[in-house]
């Protein structure tokens, strides 16, 4: 009963996250979905993933959303849907029914195998995944630096007007460095 009520609450939060006109409210509803999914994961026996989902999904991602919304500003106007609503609902229903039909034969679970611990699986059996995660994180950081770099007009005096022996002002040095960084990205 607890599991079903958790599921209903998660689905309610997800629908509210889609329907909420204010972006900030939608981000908070999304954090609610994440927290409830984390509890469901814990009940499933996936304790490590539950903790990661709670800290990353409900914590870090929500902070990111709030930061992005504060930068981009709220847009509370309700825009009409891209495709007609009945068509979208029909497509979604067809996809979900297809997936449910594919899931249906899993009623008889196979015998459970004993296996190694989570640490062994993550660091030894799936070590390549850990490497891929590190690469992904660096790629994400580089991408964000490249995208969020503001376009500032570089002062004309930065290269020509400064004599070789002179000391560069701090701001000019930053501009040169940031433009070099943009070129590299």
């Amino acid at each position: 009963m607890l599991q079903v009520s958790l599921l209903i609450a998660a689905v309610f939060c997800a629908i509210q996250a889609i329907r909420a006109p204010r972006l900030l409210v939608a981000a908070i509803w999304l954090a609610g979905v994440s927290a409830l999914v984390a509890v469901l994961l814990y009940l499933l026996g996936a304790h490590e993933v539950a903790v990661i989902e709670l800290s990353v999904g409900a914590g870090l991602v929500t902070v990111l959303f709030v930061f992005a919304i504060s930068l981009a500003g709220e847009e509370t106007t309700r825009l009409p849907a891209i495709i007609p609503r009945p068509l979208a609902i029909g497509l979604v229903a067809a996809s979900v029914l297809l997936l449910a039909w594919m899931l249906a034969p899993t009623d008889n679970p196979p015998a459970a195998d004993d296996e190694s611990s989570f640490t062994v699986v993550v660091w030894q059996e799936r070590g390549a995944d850990a490497l891929a995660q590190i690469v992904l994180i660096f790629a994400g950081v580089l991408g964000v630096l490249g995208i969020l770099a503001e376009e500032r007009p570089v002062e004309k005096t930065s290269a020509e007007a400064v004599q070789p022996g002179d000391e560069l002002p701090e701001q000019v040095g930053f501009e040169v460095e940031s433009s070099l960084e943009r070129e590299r990205v």
């Binding site: 889609i18 979905v33 993933v49 981009a72 891209i82 495709i83 979604v92 995660q133």
Partner: protein, 101 residues
């Protein structure tokens, strides 16, 4: 209902809600939110599949990878949204299309 059935139903419903959001919403940040909802359904499905096949740690490992990848996608998507807002003055995805017909 067992916990596995609840997880499978939750995965399906969250996938459906996220897919509807991707299809219907026009606000770029809302699209990222819909993507996040879909990925939460997939995480549930991965862990449920691992639990069903008796390899829950493998399912957990894959779910952790998915969470990291999804967070990076969200970060880049939000940064793109901020940049789109600065450049076009709107978060509407239709404004991104420069071809008018």
């Amino acid at each position: 209902m067992t916990i596995l059935q609840v997880a499978a139903a939750g995965a399906l419903i969250l996938l459906g809600i996220g897919l509807y959001g991707l299809l219907a919403l026009r606000n770029l940040i809302k699209v990222v939110i819909a993507l996040q909802i879909m990925v939460k359904g997939v995480v549930l499905a991965l862990v449920a599949a691992g639990s069903l096949s008796g390899q829950i740690n493998l399912g957990q490992s894959l779910a952790v990878t998915l969470i990291v990848a999804d967070t990076v996608v969200a970060v880049v998507g939000l940064a793109l949204a901020v940049q789109v807002r600065r450049r076009f003055g709107s978060l509407d995805v239709r404004e991104l299309s420069t071809l008018r017909g």
